[in-house]
């Protein structure tokens, strides 16, 4: 049975996990030091020229060694554009995960610990929220923001709006898991013992229950990081996310999509490849963590 329980990666050697870790580490370094590493600053108009536009990747006919992954329609080096895009994608992903996790863990703990009316209220709100897929909610919020704040404001505040729009129903997953684990822990004798000892509720929640539910939170957070990055990319691809002036990977793919039929496939495919590699690496690590720390947690 122990064998059967192991999931997906059981047969793949842990090498795949190591590679994924490595990819993530490299990406993290690239993201942090992007301004120093990138061959040019895509936001600085003087650093690129229309002379270089639409050059294919260096490994293809007509490629130019200066532009490893080619250039876009404005002559910008794709490597630089993608590095800055990656930076924005990762930042928004992490921001959304942190915000959603903080909110969800807090509400889940309180709902699971106290039960009763508090629990019912929180969970009914959660039920209604998850009736609507994240993308849909995020799109709605984006649309409302446009109507309410005006396009300029939306462009300035795009990252914040995105983080909010993505976490607005992602917290539910944390809350549900934490609530379920909390309810299990509350019925465990060590929590009952803490109650009999006379410890106050807040202390029991933070000191006794939280450490015991944290491993599932970490696992969900990793898996959700992949989801959050994908959601951001999708929103940007649909034109409801980051503007072309501050493009994330999704925005870059949206731009590249226009050139698909003119044979300039690399403008879309290169950022897409980076996006898929990033998400895949996060997923591999997330899957591994789930198997390692919480095999009962359902794959979602």
């Amino acid at each position: 049975m122990a064998m059967a329980r192991q999931s997906l990666l059981h047969r793949l050697p842990p090498v795949s996990v190591m590679i994924a870790f490595l990819i993530l580490a490299v990406m993290l370094v690239l993201v942090i030091f992007a301004p120093m590493i990138a061959p040019m600053d895509p936001r600085d108009v003087s650093s690129y020229s229309l002379m270089d536009m639409e050059i294919p990747p260096a490994f293809m006919d007509g490629g130019d060694p200066r532009f490893l992954l080619g250039t876009d329609n404005q002559g910008r080096d794709l490597v630089s554009v993608i590095l800055f895009g990656l930076r924005i994608s990762v930042l928004i992903g992490i921001g959304a995960v942190l915000f959603a996790a903080a909110l969800g863990v807090m509400l889940g703990l309180v709902a699971g610990y106290f039960g009763g009316v508090v629990d019912s209220v929180v969970m009914r709100i959660a039920d209604v929220l998850v009736s609507f897929p994240t993308i849909l909610v995020a799109l709605l919020i984006s649309g409302i923001a446009r109507a309410q704040l005006g396009t300029d404001m939306v462009l300035t505040w795009a990252p914040v709006i995105l983080i909010f729009a993505i976490s607005v129903n992602e917290w539910v997953q944390y809350a549900r898991t934490v609530r379920a684990s909390t309810m299990v822990e509350v019925s465990r004798d060590y929590v009952r013992a803490a109650k009999v000892i006379g410890l106050p509720s807040g202390r029991i929640m933070v000191r006794h229950i939280l450490p015991n539910v944290m491993s599932s939170v970490m696992v969900i957070a990793t898996i959700n990081l992949a989801g959050a990055i994908l959601t951001e990319a999708t929103l940007s691809f649909l034109g409801a996310g980051m503007p072309p002036t501050y493009p994330s990977l999704g925005t870059l793919i949206r731009i590249g999509n226009q050139f698909l039929f003119s044979g300039l496939w690399w403008i879309a495919v290169m950022p897409a490849a980076v996006l898929v590699i990033l998400v895949l690496a996060v997923n591999v690590v997330g899957d591994y963590l789930r198997d390692r720390f919480n095999p009962k947690l359902m794959a979602r």
Partner: protein, 572 residues
């Protein structure tokens, strides 16, 4: 049951190994022999990890990978099993061997009717028509004594009670007329009264149908109740084997002797259970320290009432926020009154669901009563409690595996309440107190540096007791503190609790379903049934001259070692 028939089970030199990830090999079963004659019930007993369940699984072909039979032979009804594959795939489980598992709640598929599950085995193995199968199913239902068998055939498992489900499981095991039945802890999940019925059913089936039964159990009382022969296992090897009467009344092997001595007797009260004492110099010194600490306020035993419970009622199931979900009230405790005197151990006994744990939880403050008074040392206990009250009332729980926070070092877990009640001025002092408490309950002082998973069930329960003693309580509530433990560990723990009562001048509320344990521990006892106390008396009075019918019924049905002698008298 003629002697000319071959034995239904003949195991020779069976060895089962589990290769470990580290490259080592765990020998789960070490070269055992075991023979069962037709109509014979052979009990395989031992404490957890003894390998008894592995034997059962091996001969049903249910060994879990990577476990495998490495040598030996198994003959069922004279037919040898092909072991070349390393698995017992030679026999047809279900046709030649029937199985009964521990938990009737999970042994049946919830999505299929009783009839479906009874018939599928027959249709597979016996090549009979669906009509014949149904007719046989009906016979089986009658044979295992299920009321309204016709109607029950169409029922789903969830519509049956636990006892009825176990009867269905037994009927399923009998469906193809096997010569051998493997019953793995068949009554462990059941209440005493249901247990007695199921045991009688198994005994009758062996006598009337000549089925051989391999009864895997940890409960000596069950063995005494129905077994013809007993094999005692320890660490995968057979320690002693023979007729039940001989093994139970005059065990020869040292381990067998300790094991049987550790079983609490129901007919007499012992000062201490005869298990090796663990009192060392360290323990005694630590206990002295504990005694000095607890001096204030904890006088010797007296008639002073410490806890007075009057007309306690507890109801569960209040309305919910969702409109439409009706308020359904379940009265768990109905007007219960009793008191506990200083230094006394007061017992609450009853079957599962009788409300005894709810009473304990209410007194401990985990549940709030719907009406009635609890008076504890002059304080009335309701929803809100003074700090001093909380400090004086501590509790030990049933499940040692969930009683300790897995993320907390043991000495921090014990030090936490000590610090919280400001019984130590700083963390270092509190951890020193924790060390003393650990030594007092018989653990090494440096045990505190480790986490809960490093300890066995019995050790964890000791840690839980040490933690409960930390706030220097005057009363300890023990909710089935030993029911999850092996019998020898239970004996040591019961002795420890008695010592601590004397040492710290504690009063105790002791809850158990086990009458023998209750008899060993308690001064006075209340018997509970369906949320009410039906009888309350001194221990000796209750056991020697029970007044209420229910008490007598419980005493009559409780399995115990003495049964073997009774059975002999009856058959003589």
């Amino acid at each position: 049951m003629t002697k000319t028939k071959p034995p239904v089970l003949d195991i020779r030199n069976l060895r089962v190994e589990y290769p470990l990830a580290t490259g080592d090999v765990l020998v789960a079963v070490k070269d055992i022999d075991l023979v069962i004659q037709p109509g014979e019930i052979h009990a395989l007993v031992g404490e957890s990890g003894a390998g008894k369940t592995t034997v059962g699984n091996a001969l049903m072909g249910l060994l879990q990978a990577p476990g495998k039979i490495v040598s030996g032979s198994i003959d069922i009804a004279g037919k040898p099993i092909d072991l070349r594959t390393g698995r017992t795939e030679g026999i047809v489980p279900g046709r030649d061997v029937g199985a009964i598992f521990q938990d009737p709640m999970t042994s049946l598929n919830p999505l299929f009717t009783v009839q479906d599950q009874l018939c599928e085995g027959m249709l597979t193995h016996l090549k009979i028509s669906a009509r014949e199968a149904r007719a046989r199913a009906l016979d089986l239902m009658k044979a295992v004594g299920i009321p309204e068998p016709e109607r029950r055939l169409g029922s789903y498992p969830h519509q049956l009670s636990g006892g009825q489900r176990q009867r269905v499981v037994i009927a399923t095991a009998l469906a193809c007329d096997p010569q051998l039945i493997v019953a793995d802890e068949p009554t462990t999940a059941l209440d005493v009264s249901v247990q007695a019925q199921i045991l009688k059913l198994i005994r009758d089936l062996a006598d009337q149908r000549g089925v051989g039964v391999l009864l895997v159990t940890h409960n000596m009382g069950v063995v005494a109740e129905i077994a013809d022969r007993v094999t005692i296992m320890q660490n995968g090897a057979v320690v002693e084997s023979g007729p039940a009467r001989e093994v139970l009344t005059a065990p020869k092997a040292p381990y067998a002797r300790t094991l049987i001595a550790a079983v609490p007797p129901i007919d007499t009260r012992l000062e201490r259970l005869p298990v090796p004492s663990e009192e060392t110099k360290v323990t005694l010194e630590a206990r002295d320290a504990v005694r000095r600490n607890n001096k204030k306020g904890n006088a010797e035993r007296s008639d002073e009432v410490v806890l007075d419970v009057r007309n306690l009622c507890v109801e569960y199931g209040k309305g919910s926020l969702i409109p439409g979900r009706k308020t359904s009230v379940f009265k768990a405790v109905k007007s219960v009154s009793f008191n506990v005197k200083r230094g006394e151990i007061f017992g609450l006994v009853g079957e599962s669901g009788c409300g005894k744990t709810t009473v304990a939880n209410t007194i401990a403050g985990l549940v709030t009563q719907s009406s009635g008074d609890i008076d504890f040392q002059g304080n009335s206990l309701g929803g809100h409690r003074a700090r001093s009250v909380r400090q004086s009332l501590q509790m030990v729980f049933q499940d040692p595996y969930s009683a300790l926070n897995p993320r907390l070092r043991i000495n921090n877990a014990i030090a936490e309440p000590i610090l919280f009640y400001k019984l130590a001025s700083n963390g270092a002092e509190a951890r020193q107190d924790a060390k003393t408490l650990l030594e007092a309950v018989g653990l090494p002082g440096d045990a505190g540096l480790r986490f809960a998973h490093a300890f066995s069930g019995g050790q964890r329960q000791r840690i839980a007791i040490a933690r409960a003693l930390g706030p220097r309580p005057s009363m300890l509530i023990c909710d089935e503190p030993t029911s999850a433990l092996d019998v020898s560990v239970q004996a040591q723990l019961l002795n420890l609790l008695k010592d601590l009562r004397d040492l710290a001048g504690l009063s105790m509320l002791f809850i158990s379903h086990d009458l023998a344990v209750i008899r060993q521990m308690c001064d006075r006892i209340a018997v509970m049934k369906s949320g009410e106390i039906v009888e309350l008396a001194d221990t000796e009075t209750l056991f020697t001259a029970p007044k209420h019918d229910y008490t007598r019924e419980l005493l009559r049905l409780a399995p115990s070692l003495e049964r073997i002698l009774e059975r002999e008298r009856a058959s003589a």
